[in-house]
Amino acid sequence: MRNRRPPGHRDGLTRRALLKTTLGAAAAGLAPDTAHAQEPVSDTTKRWGRLPNTLGARSPAENPRRTPSPTSSRTPLQDLHGTITPADLHYERHHGGVPVVDPRTYRLVVHGMVDRPLTFTLDDLKRFPAATRTCFLECSGNFGGQREETTPQDLCGLTSQTEWTGVMLSAIFNEVGAQPGATWFLAEGQDAAVMTRSIPVKEVLDEAMVVYAQNGEALRPEQGYPARLLLPGWEGNASVKWLRRMKLASQPFMTREETSKYTDPLADGTARQFSFVMDARSVITAPCYPQAIEKGWTEIRGIAWSGRGLIRRVDVSTDGGRTWKPATLQQPVLPKAHTRFRFPWQWDARPTEILSRAVDDTGYVQPEMSALQQARGRRTRYHLNPVTGWTIAADGRVRFGLQRVRV
């Protein structure tokens, strides 16, 4: 039997002794040391790897990255396999940069139409009965399909999914004694934009949370550390980050982000306001630009989601929309959550277009861009959720299906 322990190792060895032993052995070139352990070796069975350490890291061979602009960064959807977005790859959208908030001095003030205006520390928030919810968060300005050289990340990387933990907003509102006439509240962040949105109380109270944890650990700074609002299924902007204040009132406040921004000018001459809910959408994340596929077996993979509830079905077309067949949904399907779909395919090496179309449990079918423009006109900048797909050339090269969204 081969000895898989470093020289001198025995059960119950103290950390100090172990360190001494391994350092000594490493110096003699006999055993693993952290400096060399990450370099590839021709036969990994002949040399000890790195010992346990304090913080894990990705394999050096894996290099997923967000794509930043001055105001946002996008999740590399094509690099992800399940439905949870690693915290460091969650998309960012902020209006005044990422503030550095000291958790020790952090305070959340809740006032306005309440019986007891209260201030909560971060510890106070953590002492409330806790709740955990897995859901997507999507910026309503999440459409970037303007060129054939478009990746899923470019197209709709402003959506991510997280297991959030925090306190139900209803518990906080109980604590302050929200008054019956308080039908709206202002959520305000402590970034340099002092971001504000007015939120209707009744529509969110069953599901809204103030969260302090993301995938099991504290929120990332760019996700609102130390605490943010979370409104499952609603446009991301309304889930105000770095939450410093909530003010209950009987009317909306008509802040900039709910009047001149995040509103939808329509063909009938009106502008739709407070259009919070994200309608159903899907995207094929493989195959996609800039890949090339080979004749034969390809599994078409993607994600679908709806801010209205559950994804009921995802239809896939491999013939440019002439025929559609249902994809397999990865269970469990959660409400208001990214849902993974897969579709087996044999490519016959003929040029074609592959498409996906989500259907949710309200009966809503993800529309074509032409239908969206017919319903809304051509000037809406938000809530664009058209059917999209990828063209496959005879040589197997995959490009974004631009013609379908350019109507």
Binding site: P117, P129, M254, T255, R256, G269, T270, A271, R272, G377
Partner: protein, 194 residues
């Protein structure tokens, strides 16, 4: 009799579990927010003017504030630059959406959304400038400067006169061209694409 007792006991156990699992209506967390604490954060301005501070200013006074703190990003006359345009050139009766707009625009390049053609409430200008502008030093303008700058933006969009003073009384009374166009979310759910 035994069965009845068992049933009663079972109900009591279930009831006890339910009580134990539902948190009390109030758990006693948080400390009273003092009026000073609230006042330090309470910067929002509502369409009815609630929250507007004392002070005031006209477009004439605002011109200097604009040139000094805003023009670098928004253009000398609010036409836009690295930041959004604020002053719109298109006729006010033709708002930036709807069939009228499509006809007016014809085949021309897209026209910007501005304060004059798209902002429904004048109070939003004060609120937003006070909380977030100028980007190089957010929240650094005085109340008078913010009132005057708001007046300049409204005057340049042809909504008020250059001499009109904007303050806590006058600003909420300004009727914005786009005001009547804004409607609450009218998507009704279900299958309809809207």
């Amino acid at each position: 009799m035994n069965r009845l007792l068992t049933l009663v006991a079972a109900i009591l156990v279930v009831a006890a579990v339910v009580v134990a699992q539902s948190p009390p209506r109030r758990v006693g967390l948080g400390t009273p927010a003092t009026p000073e604490q609230v006042a330090a954060l309470d910067i929002d301005v509502s369409p009815d003017g609630a929250g507007l501070p004392p002070g005031g200013g006209s477009a004439r006074e605002g011109a200097g504030v604009y040139a000094q703190t805003c023009a670098a990003c928004h253009g000398a006359n609010g036409e836009g630059g690295t930041a959004d345009p604020l002053v719109g050139a298109e006729p006010k009766e033709t708002l930036p959406f709807g069939p009228d707009y499509e006809r007016w625009r014809g085949g021309r390049p897209d026209v910007a959304f501005t304060i004059g053609n798209y902002w429904p409430y004048a109070t939003t200008i004060f609120d937003y400038v006070r909380r977030a502008m100028p980007a190089s030093a957010p929240g650094s303008l005085t109340a008078d400067e913010t009132h005057a700058l708001t007046a300049w933006l409204l005057a340049r969009n042809g909504i008020i006169a250059d001499a009109a003073v904007m303050n806590a009384e006058t600003l909420p009374r300004v009727r914005m061209p786009a005001r009547a166009r804004f409607v609450r979310d009218n998507r009704k759910g279900r299958a309809e694409v809207k």
